[in-house]
């Protein structure tokens, strides 16, 4: 800016509502005193500047008076609102009271409490009853979505049906209107999450008291056939001063038998407290809430959620596959019975959990009484018998002490050494140092070590071995050993895991014992222990399952082994379906399902799962084991199958490598060249300074001086490739496409369904479409838009330009909203008026969309209403990208600097096809003419930037008068 343009200062001040940044002017302000003074005088007179400086001075009474008197702090402290909040606030009705944020029905909104998955929670005053309430408003962007709307009203129905002191009651519901909302009491005190963040782990007594109340609330909801689906500390409210806990946010609750809205498989909820069945996208029931309750109790005891990771996907994998760190490892003060209760609630298998929420409530109440009066009241029986369930696979764990863990690790070293030696020189006597402490009864580990030693000496004497293991098992069961159940399982697990190294068949009798002793989740710990002694075994759930299946296979209980193995196969299949694996020939697994090759089958499954987990060395190792097949007879068919498998496996491995490469593909800095949110295109001006930076797993958007961070996960295998973006615990499924330096992303904003295409088609109104261009250090700016403008006009660009051409400036929009005549507004809005004119001829269903009932020129109020629906940053447009169904263009036959094209719209908006012309002005394409053939109307962009309208036929003049004038 060479000479000072004072108008620019004025324009700058006016523009602030619309975030149009004039960088050049700002830079100029840094140097030019004259412009500063002018700008400041335009902003307010000297008196105002002085008063602001003086009166806004904080003083010693401020803090006190805020606390005592003001509600302004509610809004004052939040700074910038996230988009969803702004969206809701923008849609509130105006209020006379400048201190309030607005009005919704008769509720005066006084502040923002928070944002949830479905909308925004506002604090409000209900003037008719003189009470403060919380109003949960569905975000307007979501309210357009029929599915979301249904879910919202279902939430209201569900929650209103439950009347219980531990469930937040619903005062009222308004499901109609642009912003459906429901009204609840405003509960002072904050959420359990807030307390957790502030205080860390809670005292056991509080944990029990809170847990029992959650269980009571859940029991009431469950009785009505509801599943909350989203029990987590944020949804548990603590009333101030009262020891009462209330469950809120039945946002995802649903009647068990109502499949119509929440589709099976559509994962909804915050992942950290999800149940495994929820994470797998399976049908869930009330028992899922019990798992979440267990997770909440875990968090209350330990101060952190049981499963944490960088991405939701990873969290969900953990929930499905892994066992959380034992509570008593984190805090040894937690009593065993408490850890046992949490573990049981968090059983992977729903059947292993407690049967009902009220059972849990009774138990926790009993424990609380015991805690308060340990001498008078005994611990409830259910808490003392930690694994009383008859189910064979009880997952309750008692936690091992450090000493046992250490001896287990020592044992692994010993055993591995011993076995390696037995493999090379089977008869050499090599004494291993004893781990037994002199003055104590031998532990199970000691005993097992002795057994292994003996077995090594006389491997053929399996009968004795079996006898010893049985005795060991019996001793463990009757608790005559200073060991825990875990140790018992672990020792058995060791044998199961170590046996393959012997490369000899396991006697069936021994296998049977092992199978009985081994359970899937003990082996997780084994893998853990093995990892600690230097074996790169990943402690993931499928391994333990595989170990269990192997043990069963050895034991000859083929049927059970097959069941286990089928579960593994199911996991593989799920991965294929999720697109994490190419569509493999999985049939070989089926064909190998015979008694002879169960072991091989499992080896192969393990190989595949290893490959999936990215451990190619282990995968190769497993597949070779399967191929060598020394333990079983190998038939010709088997060999063929195995070869086939290995080929398939190499495909997986290649893919895994590709995925790893892909995971870094987006790393770097990107510019946004196009952005469309729910059908609204962001003007280029606003995109100018937006930068998105990807690291390996995070995505940071820098705009307007604020950074927004999200995590993301890619899956390049499917077509189109998947991207999942997680912000504030909420994951949005999307697709992406990377071509050279251009990245396209389309994210589902509201529906939760993954988009299928990048364009702005009819069904993508709720999606966000971004086109990004990689920022290269050497490259100039605006490469991408220049690229688009460089060649002939392409439909992609035309789709962006058309809405802009049919747009109206903010100033004109304001004028239109007050002026009685649309011709009072200037320039581009005329094309808008034109576009709206013909709507009147269309069939009635346009009325639903735009409410243009007026015959002829639409009323300004109608225009305003239609356009306000489309409010984008900086301008309002009648044509939204999502209205465009078809767009074609080609160079004009006689003039390379012009293009001609046609555009069609959603029939509910505008039925006819409109032709248009574009020309290059200063190297950029500009839409310069619209033609409505069936109406014989043409509008042309004149040199002064205004649109001039002409009619092809002289007799068509009935409604043109109002819009002929284009000057202002």
């Amino acid at each position: 800016m060479n000479k000072c343009d004072l108008n620019r200062a004025t324009a700058f001040l006016q523009a602030d509502h619309y975030r149009l940044e004039d960088d050049e002017f700002v830079a100029h302000l840094g140097e030019c005193t004259e412009c500063r003074q002018y700008l400041e005088s335009q902003a307010g007179d000297a008196g105002l500047w002085a008063s602001a400086g003086e009166l806004l001075q904080p003083d010693e009474f401020d803090k006190a008076s805020d606390d005592a008197c003001s509600t302004a702090t509610v809004i004052g402290s939040t700074g910038g609102h996230p988009v969803a909040i702004q969206d809701v606030l923008d849609n509130l009705a105006p209020t006379d009271d400048p201190h309030k944020l607005g009005r919704l029905d008769h509720y005066e909104i006084t502040g923002v409490v928070g944002v949830g998955g479905m909308g925004v929670v506002l604090k409000a005053v209900d003037p008719s009853l003189e009470r403060v309430v919380a109003v949960k408003v569905m975000a307007p962007s979501l309210a357009n979505n029929d599915k979301a709307r249904k879910r919202f009203s279902r939430e209201a129905k569900a929650a209103a049906a439950v009347l219980h002191p531990n469930v937040v009651p619903i005062h009222g519901v308004s499901a109609e209107g642009t912003m459906p909302f429901l009204v609840m009491p405003y509960i002072r005190g904050g959420s359990l999450q807030a307390r957790l963040e502030k205080e860390g782990p809670l005292p056991l007594e509080d944990v029990l008291r809170i847990g029992s109340q959650i269980a009571a609330g859940l029991a009431a909801a469950h009785e009505k056939g509801l599943v909350h689906r989203d029990i987590k500390p944020e949804n548990i409210l603590l009333e101030e001063g009262v020891e009462r806990v209330t469950i809120t946010d039945f946002g995802l609750a649903r009647a068990v038998d109502d499949n119509s809205v929440t589709q099976k498989g559509a994962i909804a909820g915050t992942p950290m407290y999800m149940s495994p069945e929820q994470a797998r996208g399976e049908e869930i029931n009330q028992l899922s809430d019990l798992f979440s309750l267990g997770s909440v109790l875990y968090a209350l005891c330990s101060g952190r959620p049981p499963f944490t990771s960088d991405s939701s996907w990873a969290v969900m994998r953990q929930i499905i596959d892994e066992t959380p760190a034992p509570l008593r490892d984190i805090s040894p003060e937690i009593p065993e019975w408490m850890a046992g209760i949490v573990d049981r609630l968090m059983s992977k298998d729903a059947a292993d959990r407690f049967a009902t929420a009220s059972e849990v409530q009774t138990l926790l109440d009993g424990c609380l009484s015991h805690l308060q009066q340990p001498d008078a009241i005994a611990l409830p029986e259910a808490a003392t018998t930690v694994s009383p369930r008859t189910h064979k696979r009880t997952t309750t764990k008692i936690l091992q002490t450090g000493a046992i863990l250490m001896s287990l690790i020592a044992l692994v070293i010993v055993a591995v050494v011993a076995i390696q030696q037995s493999g090379t020189d089977s008869r050499t006597e090599d004494q291993t140092p004893a781990v037994t402490a002199p003055d104590r009864q031998p532990t199970a580990a000691d005993r097992l070590e002795a057994i292994i030693k003996q077995w090594k000496q006389s491997p053929e004497d399996t009968a004795d071995l079996e006898q010893q293991l049985r005795t060991l098992q019996q001793d463990l069961k009757t608790a005559s050993l200073p060991d825990t159940e875990v140790a018992r399982r672990d020792t058995a697990g060791f044998v199961a895991l170590l046996w393959p190294h012997l490369q000899r068949p396991m006697p069936r009798s021994l296998g049977r014992v092992l199978a009985e002793l081994t359970t899937p989740d003990t082996s997780v710990r084994l893998s853990d222990a093995m990892a600690k002694v230097g074996r790169p075994t990943e402690p993931v759930g499928w391994e333990s399952q595989a170990a269990h299946a192997l043990a069963l296979g050895w034991a000859g209980t083929t049927q059970q082994a097959l069941t286990e193995s089928q579960t593994l196969e199911h996991k593989i299949r799920t991965n294929v379906e999720k697109g994490r694996l190419p569509d493999l020939q999985l049939t070989f697994l089926g064909r190998m399902r015979s008694q002879q090759s169960v072991w091989k089958q499992i080896q192969l499954q393990q190989a595949i799962l290893h490959a999936l987990a990215g451990d190619l060395t282990a995968a190769t190792d497993r597949s070779q084991q399967a191929a060598s097949g020394k333990t079983k007879e190998t038939t010709v068919d088997d060999v063929a199958e195995i070869q086939k498998t290995l080929r398939a496996l190499s495909v997986i491995m290649k893919d895994a490598t590709k995925q790893r490469e892909q995971s870094t593909a987006l790393v770097g800095e990107w510019r946004v060249t196009y952005s469309e949110d729910s059908g609204r295109v962001t003007p280029q001006q606003a995109l100018k300074n937006v930068r998105i930076t990807f690291t390996k797993d995070t995505m940071t958007t820098a705009a307007l001086g604020q950074n927004t961070s999200a995590t993301y996960a890619l899956n390049a295998a499917p077509q189109p490739a998947h991207i999942d973006i997680t912000t504030l615990g909420r994951t949005q499924p999307g697709i992406y496409d990377l071509q050279g330096d251009t990245l396209r992303i389309c994210i589902s904003e509201a529906s939760g369904d993954r988009p299928t295409a990048f364009d702005s088609q009819l069904d993508s109104v709720n999606d966000v479409v971004l086109i990004l261009k990689r920022v290269r250090e050497t490259g100039g700016t605006n490469v991408s838009m220049d690229d688009l403008h460089a060649g002939p006009l392409k439909p992609t660009l035309a789709r962006t330009l058309l809405p802009q051409a049919a747009s109206i400036s903010v100033a004109d929009f304001k004028k239109l909203s007050t002026s009685p005549r649309p011709d009072a507004v200037s320039n581009q809005s005329l094309s808008l008026v034109l576009m709206s004119l013909d709507v009147k001829e269309e069939e009635p269903d346009f009325v639903d969309d735009l409410q243009f009932a007026y015959n002829g020129v639409p009323k300004p109020s109608e225009l305003v209403e239609a356009m306000s629906l489309s409010q984008a940053d900086g301008y309002f447009s009648f044509i939204q990208p999502s209205y465009i169904t078809d767009c074609h263009c080609q160079p004009a036959p006689d003039d390379a600097s012009r293009s001609v094209g046609t555009v069609s719209f959603k029939s509910s908006v505008y039925k006819a096809t409109v032709s248009f012309q574009a020309e290059k002005r200063d190297g950029r394409w500009v839409i310069c003419q619209f033609h409505l053939p069936h109406r014989g109307i043409t509008t042309e962009l004149t040199d002064n930037g205004h649109w001039r309208r002409t009619t092809d036929a002289a007799d068509d003049s009935t409604d043109s008068g109002a819009v002929e004038k284009s000057d202002n």
């Binding site: 302000l29 806004l56 009474f61 005592a68 008197c69 001086g705």
Partner: protein
């Protein structure tokens, strides 16, 4: 403080007409902190100051029962006059029964300068509260750095250069930001003024 909604119900009891109700609610929002601060400035502790606020407001609300709409007078204006009197008489020092040996006129004379001071103080506090309320609205509407640019320079008196360094933005940005805030503040204050 949690007493806010409950006491308001009591205070509202006498106000029937809807527009008067709004005026009254608005009045409460502004005057609560004003009275509280004036009371604190007179040495009252937090709880006593809150009591004073409550007493004065109850007294004002009782007067509302006597209010009769008259052509040309707005409830808002009437309310402010009543409130002003109640506040000044309650918070001016020199309780009536302490004026031993003097006539009522003497007492009145003695109290006059003090009342003038208190009156000025009230006007100042009222204006201050309006600024704070307007600022809260503006602040909720802009991003943190824009607000900081304003607060550091205009309120805390830092130079624009220093403020720019503190928030890590250019000097131009600071100038631009604070002007925008002032402009919005002005608009917000105007809007609040229109109501009165």
């Amino acid at each position: 403080m949690t007493e806010f909604p409950e006491t308001r119900a009591t205070l509202l009891a006498g106000v029937k007409a809807r527009e008067n109700r709004e005026a009254w609610e608005d009045f409460l929002l502004t005057y609560r902190p004003v009275i509280y601060r004036m009371a604190r400035r007179r040495g009252l502790q937090d709880a006593d100051a809150q009591d004073a606020v409550q007493n004065i407001l109850v007294r004002v609300s009782a007067a509302i029962a006597d209010y009769e709409p008259q052509p040309g007078t707005k409830f808002r204006h009437w309310l402010r006059r009543v409130a002003r009197n109640a506040i000044l008489s309650a918070l001016s020092r020199g309780p009536k029964d302490a004026a031993v040996g003097g006539t009522a006129a003497d007492e009145q004379l003695q109290r006059q300068p003090e009342q003038d001071d208190a009156s000025r103080e009230l006007a100042h506090e009222h204006r201050r509260e309006q600024f704070h309320r307007a600022a809260a609205v503006v602040r909720s509407d802009v991003n943190t750095e824009t607000w900081q640019a304003f607060e550091l320079t205009v309120v805390q008196g830092l130079s624009c250069e220093d403020a720019a360094k503190t928030i890590g933005k250019s000097v131009g940005t600071v100038y631009a930001a604070r002007s925008r805030i002032i402009k919005r503040l002005r608009e917000q204050l105007d809007r609040m003024q229109e109501l009165n």
